[in-house]
């Protein structure tokens, strides 16, 4: 940036002209695309707003009106979507537990928490609070076993458990793969590459349905926890490669300097290598969290009552089956809010940290 004479900031109309109506081709493209967009928007608004049926228990009105959306199904059955099979009187616990995890997620975006001590404490504390609230059995809360959990809370539970188990595992995997012992590095590399080339669905299926076959009686446990462990393993293998990328992008002088100062292996890793590696690997890590949250929905195929299954259940009964599409749109909006804000935050961080521009 040696050139200090910046061009004058264009006015709004100047901007409009250069970006939208710069020459005949550009103007045509703008007009055609705008017409197309307006046409889609008009149809969408007609369906979703103008002709839509709102309010609780409007099933008959919906059936009579097929020009518009039937948001009545959401107003009537949102409890099933969000809470699944959770007992009705206790559903506030499920909602509160989800809120806690959302707060934890928002707090982890605050730079003050970004240390090797604060972030794990925050997540473990949040997760424990979530589990205690959901499970109950003490403090006068009736016990609700995992089998009765469902809806959004189950999706949040699986996601946060996978992150909590997967992250330390990923660090272990990355360090083992970088090990100076050749056979350890090779064996870990083989495991990571094999798991990465398998579809997540196949891994979940194996852990949920096939693994009990190859485990002794005492180790089988709940299928929910087996799926979480399988998913964590999958997450760890992907995240390990991201961390390895972060480690490899460090100049070798960093580790050599630490060695020259006489630091031991754990000090080098804990104070020199990993903090810098994580900083380099932050954008792909957030991207990995986004993908992990989205792919949590695959458990619906294995037969868990997550938010996808509960949505399909809510629109699965005979009197509401015509409104399946509206239910999917609602679920899509639900996911969009979470995933979009997380990915925007990732993009903001990328700009702020200036990764890639230095």
């Amino acid at each position: 940036m040696s050139d200090t004479s910046f061009p004058a900031r264009p006015s709004v109309f100047g901007n409009l002209k250069t970006r939208y109506f710069n020459g005949p081709v550009n103007s045509t493209v703008t007009v055609v695309l705008a017409a197309l967009a307006l046409w889609v928007l008009y149809g969408l608004a007609n369906w979703a707003l103008v002709h839509a049926v709102w309010g609780v228990d409007q099933g008959d009105a919906c059936r009579a009106n097929r020009d518009g959306a039937c948001w009545s199904i959401i107003a009537t059955r949102w409890r099933i979507v969000l809470f699944g099979l959770y007992p009705f009187e206790e559903q506030w616990r499920s909602g509160l537990a989800c809120l806690i995890m959302v707060v934890v997620a928002v707090l982890s975006c605050v730079p003050w928490f970004w240390s090797a001590r604060r972030l794990p404490i925050l997540w473990v504390a949040g997760f424990t609070a979530f589990y205690i609230l959901m499970r109950g059995g003490f403090f006068g809360l009736p016990e609700v076993v995992e089998r009765n959990w469902g809806g959004l809370a189950l999706t949040v539970f699986i996601f946060s458990a996978v992150c909590l188990i997967g992250m330390p595992l990923a660090i272990c995997f990355a360090l083992l793969r970088q090990s100076s012992l050749p056979w350890v590095a090779r064996a870990m590399g083989l495991i990571i590459d094999t798991i990465r080339s398998l579809p997540l669905l196949a891994i979940m299926f194996t852990f949920a349905i096939v693994l009990p076959f190859a485990l002794p009686e005492w180790a089988i446990g709940e299928s929910l926890y087996r799926v979480i462990i399988g998913y964590s393993l999958f997450f760890a293998c992907y995240q390990a490669e991201i961390i390895r990328g972060g480690i490899q992008s460090l100049p070798s002088g960093q580790e050599e300097a630490a060695k020259a100062l006489g630091l031991g292996y754990w000090h080098r890793i804990g104070y020199i290598i990993l903090p810098q590696a994580f900083r380099n690997a932050l954008p792909p890590t957030i991207n990995q969290f986004v993908i992990t949250f989205k792919e949590t929905t695959l458990v619906t195929i294995i037969g868990f009552f997550d938010v996808m299954t509960s949505g399909r259940t809510a629109s699965g009964t005979a009197d509401w089956s015509f409104a399946t599409l509206e239910m999917y749109v609602f679920l899509a909006l639900l996911f969009f809010v979470f995933v979009f804000s997380l990915s925007r935050y990732g993009a903001y961080l990328e700009r702020r940290l200036g990764v890639g521009t230095r």
């Binding site: 056979w183 669905l201 999917y328």
Partner: protein, 388 residues
């Protein structure tokens, strides 16, 4: 003993043996438990079950089978369906991705806005949700009785799309695609080894000959696979309550194609956009200075450079997208994964089938990565004229 432990070589050796040994021990323990459980259930191991009849039918198949479908045939159909789905969706996702990626870097504000809306919408919603959404939309299409033929040849109904087709066997279509893939492999192999080193016109003629050969082989494959006693082309027509003739694309297949290519397209668009943004400005400015048209700058300078820059990322994306085709099970599309999981439920030969599933995916994914890496080697920028 203590002296032995203090020896660095001995200690390293022992640690490695311990690590590898414990992994092997866990795997062996799993295998032994599985064997014991299978013996207890009276199941015999091995792959003899592949010859047994399954007793179920598959919804979609490229090859004809008789009434009794064996496990081997079912698995073959599953593999072919997965490859078929991948062969359709991966190129389609690429086309969508390049289109949207170009829109987002075009400089036209409207195109950039719409491209951004596309990417942010479809990237931020789980693929399985999109799949179920499209499936619901497709099933809600009018019934065949109410549907009309568009342009006299295409019918969009709730029971599938009817489009004109050829009266040929599915196997011959598959063979034709395999042939084209082989010819592309030949081109990729010859480009750096032969055509870079010989006269340009001669290289162009030879390249054209290979393309012709590919096309010719494809036509021959279809011709040989003609179903006897029928006309070559088959056009759907309304008959009674349904449509006869033509090719029926089932809602399951159509939903898979839509969901995977739209979702994959939004990811590829971002990769392509990053590629365009990584091209140094000097490249297109040099093109402008030479008096090239906007189209020439795009098609001869920017697009080839962008593709070469993003190729390694794109390869990972293709492998990932192919793995993602397994969600087809949510709408009962009979792909490799669905056949295996159904077989596990029916035949109980769990270990063998899981082994086949993992082996199959390892082979397919490594093949995709291997082929595309060869493509990358063939087209990547040589030398250091362009620093990216």
């Amino acid at each position: 003993m203590v002296a032995l432990l203090k020896n660095r070589h001995v200690r390293d050796g022992a640690l490695q043996a311990l690590f590898v040994g414990s992994i092997l021990a866990v795997l062996a323990a799993l295998a032994i438990t599985a064997k014991t459980n299978m013996d207890a259930q009276g199941l015999t191991g091995g792959f003899a079950f592949l010859e047994r009849a399954t007793g179920w039918r598959v919804g979609f198949s490229l090859i004809e089978t008789d009434a009794t479908l064996t496990y081997a045939e079912a698995i073959l159909i599953g593999v072919m369906n997965s490859l078929f789905l991948g062969a359709i969706t991966l190129p389609l996702a690429t086309v969508i991705g390049i289109t949207v990626g170009v829109m987002r870097t075009s400089g036209n504000g409207m195109a950039e806005l719409l491209g951004a809306i596309y990417v942010e919408t479809f990237r931020n919603i789980p693929m399985i949700l999109q799949l179920l959404f499209w499936y619901t939309v497709l099933l809600a299409m009018p019934s065949p009785r109410e549907a009309e033929l568009l342009l006299g040849s295409v019918a969009l109904t709730g029971r599938g799309f009817y489009v004109p087709g050829l009266n040929v066997t599915g196997g011959s279509v598959f063979a034709g695609f395999v042939w084209i893939a082989l010819m592309i492999a030949v081109i990729v192999r010859l480009t750096p080894r032969r055509w870079r080193n010989i006269d340009t016109t001669r290289a162009r003629h030879e390249k054209r000959a290979v393309w012709l050969l590919a096309l010719l082989g494809f036509v021959v494959a279809l011709w040989l696979g003609r179903i006897s006693n029928t006309t070559l082309t088959s056009i759907p027509e309304a008959k009674g309550l349904n449509f006869k003739g033509g090719v029926r694309i089932s809602p399951e297949l159509m939903a898979c194609i839509l969901a995977i290519s739209i979702y994959g397209g939004s990811y590829i668009a971002e990769i392509i956009r990053a590629g365009f943004n990584a091209i140094p400005k000097g490249q297109s400015e040099a093109g402008k200075a030479l008096g090239l048209s906007v189209w020439h700058i795009f098609s001869r300078i920017r697009l080839p450079l962008a593709i070469r820059i993003v190729m390694p990322t794109l390869i990972n994306q293709y492998v990932w997208l192919f793995k993602a085709t397994t969600v087809g099970i949510a709408v009962s599309f009979t792909d490799f994964f669905m056949v295996i999981s159904t077989s596990i439920n029916q035949a109980g030969q769990t270990m063998e089938l899981i082994f086949m599933l993992m082996g199959g995916f390892l082979i397919i994914n490594y093949s995709i990565a291997w082929v595309l890496n060869r493509v990358n080697d063939a087209i990547k920028l040589k030398g250091t004229q362009l620093r990216i």
